[in-house]
Symmetry: C2
Subunit: 209 residues, 2 copies
């Protein structure tokens, strides 16, 4: 798909694109779609505005790439939710991975949240296809576990939503959590404790006996 990046120019192009995309994720997260501007993104990567436009043409196209990226990262995080997995372990790992993503890539999550809150004006087609199919697959797996008596008969869809909501909360509401933590970032220890506690609460809700 991508060119192998021979030559000085091609290599430099990829590098610049990546830098712009990273900055765009931050700026879209912090200011919202309308609030973000080419000017501010350009400033963050120390390039003239017109150069950023040259690489991505329109704000909409740049934004879409940012949104699709975070979705694909999340999709991978659920790879281990398979019919033959151990439910508690698979979901535990899924929660761990999503919380780790909330920690190291909070901006992508915020952009996604913003897009959904505003009724997906840009990526609605993505929701109707990729997201819908992917979600239904995961629900089938969980229902399969229930059929085989491996977990309590909970509502698979609402469980999935609870996991999404809780894990993404730590990305989207970072600022609130930080304020309630006396304006300090969560420490290493607090993150571990959070992972343990979230699994404790959610997994306890599904296990038998």
């Amino acid at each position: 798909m991508n060119k192998p990046a021979t030559g000085i120019q091609a290599r430099h192009r990829e590098e610049t694109r990546e830098r712009i995309l990273a900055a765009a994720e931050r700026v879209f997260a912090e200011y919202g779609y309308e609030g973000a501007s080419f000017g501010r993104i350009a400033q963050e990567v120390n390039l003239p505005k017109s150069n950023v436009v040259y690489y991505f043409e329109t704000k909409k196209k740049l934004y879409r790439l940012v949104v699709e990226d975070i979705f694909n990262v999340w999709r991978q995080a659920a790879d281990n939710i398979q019919p033959d997995s151990d439910p508690e372990q698979a979901l535990g790992e899924y929660i761990d991975t999503k919380l780790e993503l909330a920690r190291v890539r909070p901006h992508g999550s915020k952009v996604w949240a913003n897009e959904i809150i505003q009724r997906a004006p840009i990526v609605q087609d993505y929701l109707e296809n990729e997201l819908r199919d992917w979600t239904n697959d995961r629900i089938s797996v969980i229902d399969g576990w229930i059929d085989r008596g491996m977990i309590r008969p909970i509502n698979a869809r609402n469980l999935l939503y609870a996991i999404w909501a809780t894990t993404q909360h730590y990305a989207d509401f970072t600022h609130q959590i930080q304020t309630l933590n006396d304006d300090k970032e969560l420490s290493e220890t607090q993150w571990s404790e959070t992972k343990r506690a979230v699994k404790d609460i959610l997994i306890n809700g599904i296990s038998k006996g």
Copy 2:
């Protein structure tokens, strides 16, 4: 605090202010702070832009009123979390109420989410005072329950976050949920099932035995 609203003028003023506030909540939710404009809000209530400006002076002031309003509604929803309440019932009612608010007033929740995602540029002082005190009070109550052996020793703060995240998810991510529900609004039955399932998952995580 408010004038008793005698006379035609005063009554009409209150009425107009309310209509504008309701429209502003919708518009801020749907377009974000930057994306929302006096023009669009004015259009929704069929008034000239300058009249809306006359009532609220600046966009910031109007926005702040909207944000404070939803916070106060949420605060009330937790009134029954008291030391002498039955934990499972009190938290169950809290979840029910918050889900009902997610259903009937999704816009306020979205505005709050947006504000927090963007690092509370307008209401940071609110977080530092009202929200922080209120949260610590609730955590004390839950820890009290744990001390008296009424629930499992879970992490009270993370439990609170899980409840917020999960309930508000049904407001903030309405559009995604609807898309995954074949583009249909959740039915009466589905809302009941959701309330049951969310309580099932979260409350099961705290109960003893």
